[in-house]
């Protein structure tokens, strides 16, 4: 564990706690740089364009150039803004996302904090994002921002219900909320992943597979809505609400929202991965085991986790550049009329199977 490693290294728990927050932050920054570039390339190639090509090889330095531009930009504060809230909001949004990374198991050694309530903590701390978005919308004193913030709050809170129901489904089988343990349970090969029924055996496993697939689809859709991506991007629908809650932001504060959005995309992909797709476990065994080099295994695990998470981020981008966005009422109808009942029925059936 990372925290134990730092405690051993420095012999001070406070320093260790602070230091174990650094690797996830580094990961977020690097990942966001990559994801923004990927988003541009994915959108460009879907639209018969090339995307950025000039800054670096295939434009891979474009995001860094953009970041430099954003840092240099004037930080505009309108006279009518509620300044304390306006300044606090982007920090809060990013803090909520960043805090979620604390409990995400990147590999068996690379986990910010191995708490027993891992998944519960992530879902709870993500609530900070809603508060931040509401603050941003309100303090901007702009009607479009306000509408966007209201939409965001309604949407995120609604879609947390199916997410939690599916998480409960998984937890009922694994009997743990600790994401590290949950990932360890899915060790071995691809058929031990939760989407294939997890570590259960016999008829239970076969009856769980379709249910797990349903659960997987439900949680993927609802996490998509929680991070405000198309087709659920109504809080920042640029053709309706200009930019939604971050219309009034510029410079680094805007960059904070941007950072939080992309970090959030990875966070939800990581949750889906950890719950259903074996977390950091390799589907085909480890090279480290093969050549008998044990320290290779955590690195491989980290790679697998990153690949799985990035794949889901890619799917999110794919959807974004393909689908139109839903209307507010349709979005709510999808959640309350379809996803929640399906998730509930799924939960009950899985519950019965695990009891039997």
């Amino acid at each position: 564990m990372m925290y134990d490693f730092f405690v051993d290294l420095f012999g001070n728990e406070i320093i260790a706690a602070i230091l174990s927050g650094v690797p996830p932050l580094l990961f977020i920054l690097v990942f966001v740089l990559f994801a923004v570039w990927l988003e541009r390339k994915v959108s460009a190639h879907m639209q018969d364009r090339l995307g950025p090509m000039r800054t670096g090889w295939h434009g891979y330095l474009q995001t860094i150039a953009d970041l430099i531009k954003l840092i240099q930009k004037e930080d505009i504060l309108a006279a009518a803004n509620d300044k304390p809230l306006f300044n606090l909001a982007p920090v809060l949004v990013f803090a909520g996302t960043y805090a979620a990374f604390a409990a995400i198991p990147f590999s068996s050694y690379y986990i910010g904090s191995n708490i027993d309530l891992g998944i519960f903590f992530i879902i709870g701390i993500s609530g900070l994002v809603v508060a931040g978005i509401l603050m941003a919308g309100w303090s901007s004193n702009n009607k479009y921002s306000m509408l966007g913030a209201m939409r965001a709050a309604a949407q995120i809170i609604s879609y947390e219900i199916p997410t939690i129901l599916v998480v409960l489904t998984v937890v009922m089988i694994t009997r743990t909320l600790n994401l590290h343990t949950l990932s360890e349970m899915q060790t071995g090969y691809i058929w031990n992943w939760m989407i294939f029924g997890g570590p259960t055996v016999g008829w239970q496993k076969f009856s769980l597979i379709p249910l797990m697939f349903i659960g997987f689809l439900v949680i993927y859709m609802s996490t998509l809505a929680e991070v405000n991506r198309t087709p659920f991007d109504i809080p920042e629908a640029e053709s309706e609400l200009v930019s939604g809650y971050h219309t009034e932001y510029s410079g680094m504060k805007f960059a904070m929202f941007f950072l939080a959005e992309y970090a959030n995309m990875y966070a939800v992909s990581a949750i889906v991965t950890a719950l259903f797709l074996g977390g950091y476990q390799s589907p085909i065994g480890y090279f480290g085991n093969l050549v008998d080099v044990p320290w290779l295994i955590p690195i491989e695990q980290f790679l697998w986790f990153t690949i799985k998470g990035t794949f889901f981020v890619f799917v999110q981008m794919w959807l974004r550049w393909t689908l139109p966005r839903l209307r507010v009422d349709q979005l709510m109808a999808l959640c309350w009329k379809y996803l929640i009942p399906i998730a509930f029925v799924n939960l009950i059936i899985v519950g019965l199977i695990t009891v039997l």
Binding site: S43, M46, Q47, D48, R49, N141, K143, Y144, M146, L147, T230, P231, D233, I234, A237, E238, S239, E240, L241, V242, W321, T322, L323, P324, R325, L326, R327, V328, D329, Q330
Partner: protein, 417 residues
């Protein structure tokens, strides 16, 4: 009639619009109506359209469009320049289909002055009109999809339109503001390579249009967003003066190409697509079908286009060719007279309308026998179509407003004139 000036009218409009305080803060916690000012700078208002919306939550209670942010006084300008000089200005009306406007203007002037363009010129005019109809509808469909959130379709339709711009480049040397038509014909003949390029474009167009359609027609979200949104009945549409695809989406098959044929449209075989639903989806389907019909017309034109002159032989009305101006006395005199004094059509009034991509574009002239019109009125389809927006958006949500504007497809250059 008493003429009210803007300073008097404007406060009245605003007062009538708002009635309540527009601020976010409200003393009464249960007061939930809000005034939202959409535009003139807003990504979905297709230029500088301003809509003042009165919202209850997200539902639109009332809407007042305010136009005129792009007003350039074209009708007045036309009174101060010759009929020839105004042709470039027609490009700037509906800038997504500039050639249609060129054709409309010269047809109206020819009707006034009694000029008959040679058949080849008329076929070329028909060809460029149909190509610009396709170009305009491609943008309309793409931007409508973009308004509901599907960004990729827009780029795909832009790609198709780009090919049409290339064709225009070959035909008349300009991609965007073409000013190609002349009174009594067109500026220059269409080259064989232009014809080949049109042929190539038409052959591959169906396939590429299908590709764009596939992304939308089978898309549940797209259909859900447009179906039953912004419904208008045929009678209401006629009352409000809707024309073009917006009217045909409501089940009225009014198309000037069929009802008052101009050029050689009476010889062409084409259908007028109509849908009876009258919602945004119907208007979208009408545009898609119309593109197919236009492609069909273009094919027929390519088969039938005759050889011959492209300018009428009426020296007093039609500008002579440049090389003749430099080498022949007679042509020099005519050129001097037409450029300086205009073509002096006889006294009278004339109204001529054509079917533009957006609807009926008509020019009304009152001539006093001078080189410039005494009065010019532009009946622009976007302006009249926008009249229906308050009627259409009532009771729908903010998200529907952008879809409805997209389905009406206004071009503000034309609406504000």
């Amino acid at each position: 009639m008493e003429i009210a000036d803007r300073d008097e009218v404007h406060p009245k409009i605003i007062e009538a619009l708002l009635k309540t305080d527009a601020g976010l803060s409200s003393d009464d916690a249960l007061e939930n109506e809000m005034i939202l000012n959409m535009g003139p700078q807003h990504p979905a208002t297709h230029g500088v359209l301003r809509l003042v919306l009165r919202l209850d939550g997200e539902t639109v209670i009332a809407c007042v469009p305010e136009l005129g942010y792009l007003h350039r006084g074209y009708e007045k300008m036309a009174e101060n320049m010759s009929y020839y000089e105004f042709i470039p200005h027609t490009d700037r009306l509906d800038y997504l289909a500039p050639l249609c406007n060129n054709v409309a203007w010269v047809l109206a002037v020819e009707k006034l002055a009694g000029i008959q363009a040679p058949p080849r010129a008329q076929y070329i005019r028909m060809l460029i009109s149909e190509l610009s109809r396709i170009a305009s509808h491609l943008i309309a469909v793409g931007s409508m999809a973009m308004d509901v959130g599907a960004l990729t379709v827009f780029l795909w339709t832009i790609r198709e339109r780009e090919k049409i711009l290339d064709i225009w480049d070959i035909i008349c040397g300009a991609r965007f503001t073409n000013s190609y038509t002349r009174i009594g014909g067109v500026a220059n003949d269409m080259q064989p390579e232009a014809k080949a390029k049109v042929q190539w474009f038409i052959n591959q167009f169906d396939e590429n249009l299908e590709e764009c359609e596939k992304l939308l027609n089978a898309n549940r979200i797209f259909i859900d967003r447009l179906e039953g949104v912004g419904v208008i009945s045929g009678e209401d549409a006629l009352d409000l003066g809707l024309t073009g695809p917006s009217l045909r989406g409501s089940g009225v098959d009014y198309d000037i190409r069929r009802y008052q044929p101009y050029l050689f449209y009476n010889e062409m075989d084409f259908k007028i697509p109509t849908y009876t639903e009258g919602d945004c989806l119907a208007r979208y389907f009408v545009r898609i079908d119309e593109m197919r019909e236009s492609a069909k017309i273009v094919k027929q034109i390519l088969d039938k286009i005759p050889q011959g002159d492209v300018q009428a032989n009426q020296p007093k009305k039609v500008l002579p060719k440049k090389h003749e101006v430099y080498s022949k006395m007679e042509e020099l005199i005519h050129d001097f007279m037409i450029v300086n004094f205009g073509i002096n059509p006889p006294d009278g009034e004339v109204y001529h309308a054509v079917e533009n991509p957006k609807g009926e574009l008509g020019f009304y002239f009152v001539s006093k026998g001078e080189g410039h019109p005494w009065k010019c009125k532009i009946r622009s389809p976007s302006f009249n179509n926008l009249q229906s927006v308050p009627h259409l958006v009532k009771g729908y949500m903010v998200s529907d407003v952008v879809a409805i504007i997209g389905s009406i497809d206004p071009v503000m250059g034309e609406a504000d004139k």
